[in-house]
């Protein structure tokens, strides 16, 4: 029997599952421990937009009762989870970090939320994000930024800074993120956690409030690679409600994470995603991580993906184009914010729409809607949207060629460690460059993982390494990620997060 842990929030999700299975702890106790942790630290971190204490405890008790009745349960039953506020949750507010959806309570669950509930996983709450997932710092949330648990003056990454931070600050063992251009992987890198963007179509998008339909993908945010695989296994798989969902079983990710084997694995180092533009400490930790994998039996090959140079430009045409259309539905007619135009006695529906969108959307959202509207305009469509789609094709070709000689590709996840809040807020281009290494995977639909690679010597902040695999070969990410994690944990004598500051020394 697993010993009763003194602070159960420090366990990995896999360990929690074991403790629940052996009866060492109940789901109600485990869930309450996380709610207590949130009460202690989230004033400082601001990772949650909404905490559902009652709902989570009720779900936990229901699982405990089923376990007591010896009903068959999912392996993760009773392990709590946090969900990014971009996923529709029945009965729970869903704002996407925007004023325009303030107070909206969806009448339906996203498919992956249904799967979490069916697995018996209590939902702790909804995590903060850049408004409609547009950003790399969570500073574009209409409800205030999330703070990096490693340094509260720094950004936690974005758009899913809330999900990476609840995991990094032990407010949840598991969280759901979404990744359109790096919104799972980049926050994972700068908070010392693990984040996976599955193959496009690997996890249902039904109920994911779309930013860019052809790029969006939900995935796990966790503290270990195995935990990510366990969560991936719950939420993945075909969904008839999502036409773009892949009709195939979930790849064997849990098995790959457990085996953690890289012997013979060919790791392709992407020439275009190293060196110049990357912070020296980030590059150094990346090089060391690759060397460690070679010690464990991997081989290194260099690959070139010349079209990646145009990825950012193509991305910032495709994303705003799709977003400008996806966000048109927020018009005050059926749900969400409704604002009347000032000094108009009998406003028309169109005037209410305009006034509401003006008041309800933040500046970054407006910027991208205008960009996208322009890019799709007749006369510009071919030059902008059309050309961007061609670049997308070229990037996919680059990947295909690279995967002829490499089983996985590797690069630093983000070019820098976490920057200070406010540092790049007035410089959209600098902000966009955060996603330079993560965007190509979204454009090509291939899966990616970010795993901690250490702390940058110059600032002592977390750095991340990214692995990319061919579409539907997600298990390769888990094999490489878990092998590196094991090697680094050996070297460090424990997980990287053990060196993060304790946010509530008097508590827990």
């Amino acid at each position: 029997m697993t010993a009763v842990p003194t602070d159960p929030t420090r366990l990995t999700a896999a360990e929690m599952a074991d403790a629940l299975a052996t009866g060492a702890i109940s789901s109600a106790e485990l869930t309450q421990a996380h709610l207590d942790r949130t009460a202690a630290v989230d004033d400082a971190v601001h990772a949650y937009l909404h905490v559902d204490a009652d709902g989570a405890i009720a779900a936990a008790r229901a699982v405990d009762a089923r376990r007591a009745a010896r009903e068959p349960l999912h392996p993760l039953a009773g392990v709590p989870v946090a969900v990014k506020d971009v996923m529709a949750t029945k009965g729970l507010p869903t704002t996407c970090g925007s004023r325009i959806l303030e107070g909206w309570v969806p009448p339906y669950d996203a498919t992956l939320v249904t799967r979490l509930r069916e697995a018996g996983m209590p939902i702790l709450g909804k995590t903060n994000m850049d408004e409609f997932a547009m950003g790399s710092s969570t500073e574009h949330s209409a409800y205030g930024p999330t703070h990096n648990p490693w340094d509260l003056d720094r950004i936690p990454g974005g758009s899913g800074g809330g999900s990476s931070s609840v995991v990094a600050s032990y407010q949840a063992p598991l969280a759901i993120g979404t990744d359109t251009g790096g919104s799972i992987r980049q926050p994972a890198a700068v908070t010392g956690t693990v984040g996976v963007k599955p193959t496009y179509g690997g996890v249902s998008r039904y109920g994911l409030v779309a930013l860019a339909s052809s790029l969006d993908q939900a995935g796990p945010c966790t503290r270990t690679v195995l935990d990510a695989a366990l969560l991936h296994d719950v939420i993945g798989g075909h969904d008839p409600m999502d036409s773009t969902s892949i009709d195939a079983p979930v790849p064997p990710v849990v098995e790959a994470a457990r085996r953690a084997d890289v012997s013979g694995l060919r790791i392709g180092i992407v020439r275009e995603l190293t060196g110049e533009g990357f912070q020296p400490g980030v590059q150094q930790r990346f090089d060391e991580a690759v060397a460690l994998l070679v010690e464990r039996g991997a081989r290194v090959v260099e690959v070139s993906c010349p079209s990646f140079a145009y990825a950012l430009a193509a991305y910032y045409l495709i994303l705003p184009s799709e977003a400008s259309s996806n966000l048109a539905k927020f018009d005050a007619m059926r749900y969400g914010l409704r604002v009347g135009p000032p000094e108009v006695a009998h406003p028309s529906a169109e005037q209410v729409m305009a006034a509401t969108r003006d008041a309800g959307f933040g500046p970054e959202v407006k910027r991208r809607i205008i960009l996208g509207t322009y890019a799709l305009s007749s006369g510009y469509y071919d030059a902008y949207y059309g050309t961007a789609q061609k670049v997308r094709r070229l990037i996919a070709d680059d990947f295909a060629r690279a995967f002829e000689t490499a089983d996985v590709l590797a690069s630093p996840t983000a070019p820098t460690t976490a920057f200070r809040l406010g540092d790049k807020l007035d410089d959209p281009m600098a902000m966009y460059l955060n996603d330079i290494a993560t965007i190509p995977a979204n454009l090509a639909g291939v899966p990616g993982i970010s795993v901690p690679s250490g702390l940058a010597p110059e600032d002592g902040l977390p750095t991340g390494i990214q692995f990319l695999a061919p579409a539907t070969e997600d298990e390769r990410l888990y094999a490489a990620g878990a092998a590196l994690e094991a090697a680094l944990t050996d070297r460090w004598g424990g997980p990287l997060l053990a060196s993060a500051p304790d946010l509530a020394p008097q508590g827990a």
Binding site: M87, A88, T94, C96, L101, W104, P106, P107, Y108, A110, R205, Y206, G207, L208, V209, A210, A212, S213, S214, P240, M241, D242, S243, T244, S321, E322, S324, S325, A328, K329, F330, D331, M333, R334, Y335, S348, A349, E350, M353, T373, L376, S377, S378, Y381, Y385
Partner: protein, 509 residues
């Protein structure tokens, strides 16, 4: 606010035609009769409680995603095939972006440069016996919008209304938009061609069973584009788009009106404005709607939430095999089989009796009998009840078998024609089958020779003068005696038989 629509100056149709050639383009929207909507599982029943047939998908709730209704795609392909179109082996949906309160997502999921079917034609017959070939540009799939109800104000239009209510039951119902190529060369027959095309299209869609095609319920809606070309010119003029012309008669009238209006504008040296126009059924005129410039930009792009539609050749050929006979061909075949005159066939078609007669003939009736019984009293009663004959007959429980039975009663000699009419009325009154009615009413031609002879003898005895005339060779006087015999037998004698017996008795046969 009361609105009176002031008509613009128009030239007479004849004057207009003397100087210009009309060019038409028709856009017809057809609601498919699939059980569920195009992109979700909601029901499509007409007339349901407002907003009772909605879900996250068709309400455009954040996060919801569309899934294509395979039945809708099948119907689209069958329509394309019936219109002699090419069927795309690969095509996509596209988003048509514009803001409108009754459109939940503020984009319509439609098709743009990759329609499911394209380059077809439909031949329509005109009253002079000629045929006009309407070239079809494309038939593409899209979804319908919701419906707004403007409350307050007097006209039901948005101007002057206090507020508007939106019913999203219609949002997401599958639509096929069928667009013709410019229709040239119809000349003075243009209004008739337009009507004949919409009528032929309606028949075709009905025969395909893909739509209710009820123009009055909006399941088939027509926009008429019209421009004029000066005679001898080959340059197309500026067009107007008259929206929601929703009856066959209106299609004809709208074309006629717009020809006259355009001609008046051009004759006065002004330019036709490219605009949408509203059709007014009551006054038969169009009025200016919003001006439509080419700058209107729907920012179409391929719908990223849906995968391409790629019907295999086998699927297309299997669907081709399900196509019914073309309605016009079928009509010609039936007319020839049944031996009807053109007039008789037209009446039968207009009364919607073709299927009923076909069934009745198949059940054993003669084509003439089937036509006679279904188009007489039944049609008159159905008309009084404002119902179509088929629905009316079904509501009475009257079937083709009844017609067959009635005809047999006549051919077997039990009933004569006037008795058969009485029996049919009894059947329509719900008194039972023809035999049961005839039994109950005691209707039966007199076959007992004894009874007939007795009646003849009585009549001869009572009319010695007439009898003598006949003996003297004025055989035509026999009619007076037959009448008396019929009267004496209460109409149940066979008149021919009575004549034979009288002449026999008088020794002139």
């Amino acid at each position: 606010m009361t609105t009176t629509h002031v008509g613009e100056p128009v030239l007479s149709f004849e004057e207009a035609l003397a100087a210009y050639d009309p060019v038409m383009g028709l856009e017809v929207h057809v609601e498919l009769n699939t059980a569920t909507k195009m992109f979700c599982g909601c029901a499509t029943t007409f007339g349901a409680e407002p907003n009772s047939q909605v879900c996250p998908v068709c309400l455009g709730l954040p996060g919801a995603l569309p899934v294509v209704n395979e039945k809708g795609v099948e119907s689209a392909i069958r329509i394309g095939l019936a219109l002699n179109c090419e069927i795309a082996s690969w095509c996509r949906f596209a988003r048509k972006n514009y803001f409108y309160p009754d459109m939940p997502k503020n984009f319509q999921t439609s098709q743009y440069d990759e329609p499911i079917s394209f380059d077809g034609h439909l031949d329509v017959e005109l009253s002079d016996g000629s045929t006009y070939r309407v070239e079809i540009e494309r038939a593409h799939m899209e979804e319908d919008t919701g419906k707004s109800l403007h409350v307050g104000g007097s006209t039901g239009r948005i101007h002057g209304a206090d507020h508007s209510l939106v019913d999203y039951n219609r949002a997401g119902i599958p639509l096929i938009e069928i667009v013709t190529k410019p229709m040239l060369g119809a000349g003075e027959q243009a209004p008739e061609v337009a009507r004949a095309y919409v009528s032929a299209l309606r028949d075709l869609l009905k025969a395909l069973g893909v739509s209710d095609v009820r123009m009055e319920q909006g399941s088939m809606r027509c926009d008429v584009n019209l421009s004029l070309m000066p005679k001898g010119s080959t340059t197309l003029g500026t067009r107007s788009e008259t929206k929601n012309v929703n009856s066959l008669r209106s299609v004809e009238r709208a074309v006629r009106y717009e020809v006259g209006r355009h001609a008046a504008v051009l004759a006065s040296g002004r330019r036709v404005v490219q605009e949408t126009r509203h059709w007014h059924e009551d006054t038969g005129i169009t009025t200016s709607g919003r001006e439509k410039s080419d700058a209107e930009d729907y920012r179409y792009f391929p719908e990223p939430d849906l995968v391409p539609v790629a019907p295999s050749r086998e699927t297309v050929e299997a669907l081709r095999a399900t196509l019914p006979e073309n309605p016009a061909t079928r009509r010609k075949r039936l007319q020839s089989d049944w031996g009807y005159s053109d007039l008789e066939m037209r009446d039968v078609v207009n009364a919607g009796l073709v299927e009923l007669i076909e069934e009745t003939v198949a059940a054993g009736a003669t084509p003439a009998g089937a036509r006679k019984w279904w188009s007489g009293e039944v049609a008159r009663r159905a008309n009084t009840e404002a119902q179509d004959v088929v629905t009316y007959a079904a509501s009475l429980g009257v079937t083709p078998a009844h017609v067959v039975e009635l005809e047999e009663l006549v051919t077997s000699g039990r009933l004569n024609d006037s008795m058969a009419r009485q029996v049919w009325e009894g059947v329509l009154d719900g008194e039972g089958s023809p035999t049961a009615v005839a039994d109950a009413r005691g209707l039966q031609l007199v076959r007992d020779d004894g009874a007939l002879e007795a009646a003849v003898d009585e009549v001869i005895a009572a009319n010695p003068d007439v009898a003598q005339k006949i003996r003297d060779g004025k055989v035509q006087a026999v009619g007076a005696l037959i009448g008396q015999v019929m009267k004496a037998t209460k109409g149940q004698a066979d008149a021919g038989q009575a004549r034979t017996v009288i002449l026999e008795r008088l020794g002139v046969s």
